[in-house]
């Protein structure tokens, strides 16, 4: 079972990483949350019986963990803020490096802005950015499909305002 579970996480690591980054503000807290999500998935895995899509189950467990996660910042007064994780590609040209740097800054800015949304708004925006349909978002969130549209529109407008205020376009 462990082998099977590891394979699932290899395939869906991006969900844990992006949700983790969107619900934390410093590196140590992010690592705590990532671990908590991994442990929660492992403990819930034996109860997963395929009644919903695997990704739907992962989103539910991971988002529920993020929503109930308790920050342990008091234990770490000098916690370092989250910074973009630099990814490396072989044989990059100067132009490619510069483009990559800009892309990293943009991602960083997006995480900062998502982090300023209310917790439930964050969840809905993340699910949308991940390419889930309105029906899937409704199933994960437990709200009606028609409500997803209204809620998403409102959240995206707020996100756009935040991005503009933080200088999106100048990066």
């Amino acid at each position: 079972m462990e082998e099977q579970f590891r394979h699932i996480i290899d395939e869906h690591n991006g969900i844990l990483y992006k949700i983790g980054r969107s619900y934390t503000r410093d590196e140590a807290d992010f690592q705590d949350l990532y671990q908590e999500m991994l442990i929660q998935l492992w403990e819930s895995y034996p109860r997963f019986q395929g009644q919903s899509k695997l990704s739907t189950w992962i989103y539910r467990v991971v988002l529920n963990t993020a929503l109930t996660h308790s920050k342990k910042a008091k234990r770490r007064p000098n916690a370092s803020p989250l910074e973009g994780h630099a990814y490396r590609l072989a044989d990059e040209s100067a132009k490619e490096q510069s483009e990559k740097y800009t892309a990293e800054q943009q991602v960083q800015l997006l995480y900062q802005c998502i982090n300023e949304l209310k917790k439930d708004q964050r969840a809905i925006v993340l699910l949308h950015l991940e390419g889930n349909s309105y029906e899937e978002i409704a199933e994960i969130m437990g709200v009606t499909v028609s409500n997803v549209g209204v809620r998403l529109l409102r959240s995206k407008k707020k996100l756009q305002r935040l991005l503009t205020a933080k200088g999106y376009g100048r990066v």
Binding site: T65, H69, Y87, G142
Partner: protein
């Protein structure tokens, strides 16, 4: 800003996630074997520890009081057994709910989570209010039995009750407020946060 802007920015996040995971994969799996520190799991461990503690204390207490009068020994046995049975029943229900909650949809999971937190709070308060006088009465009984060689005549004097009753009430009031304070300090902020999430999710449903 157009929709595709957000999506293209998000693709960069995918690359970051993959690269981060590839670099730390082994370390992550090593750390994943550690203890679950989720708030519900912490409560579950606390309830389990309380149950174990009650069993150990009961056995120790009853062993120590083997030579007290029979009626008192059996009363203590029944009271403590009932407390342990209630505690264990609560623990079993709690464990089942804790396992189920993370896989529910966000709204239901938040409702269930809040329900568990509140029921834990209720349980803490009830235990502190009920068990404090019970523990004091047991202490008196032990005192009369061991210290006064089974002479319970003091129980009928007004001086005894004039001191004991206010003490019992004061102890009950103190533990009631102490439990409230302890709960607020430990889980209060989490409860408020989740209430806000639930209000937001439920409000827009109407």
């Amino acid at each position: 800003m157009e929709e595709f802007d957000l999506r293209s920015m998000w693709q960069g996040a995918d690359k970051q996630a993959d690269s981060w995971y590839q670099e730390r994969q082994e370390e992550l799996w090593r750390q994943a074997k550690r203890r679950n520190e989720h708030v519900l799991r912490r409560i579950q461990r606390m309830v389990w520890m309380e149950t174990i503690f009650s069993v150990v204390m009961t056995i120790a207490l009853l062993g120590w009081m083997l030579d007290i009068v029979d009626w008192l020994w059996w009363t203590l046995l029944v009271m403590l057994t009932v407390t342990i049975v209630i505690s264990y029943r609560y623990y079993s229900q709690f464990r089942g709910q804790v396992d189920e909650i993370p896989s529910l949809n966000i709204k239901r999971s938040t409702e269930e989570f809040l329900h568990l937190l509140r029921s834990y709070k209720q349980r803490m308060i009830r235990l502190s209010v009920i068990l404090t006088p019970v523990a004091l009465i047991m202490g008196f009984a032990g005192g009369f039995s061991e210290g006064a060689e089974n002479d319970f005549s003091k129980l009928t004097t007004w001086e005894f009750w004039a001191i004991s009753l206010p003490t019992l009430v004061l102890a009950g009031v103190f533990f009631y407020y102490f439990t409230h304070w302890y709960y607020r300090r430990t889980f209060g902020s989490k409860e408020q946060e989740l209430e806000e999430v639930l209000r937001s999710l439920s409000g827009e449903e109407e």
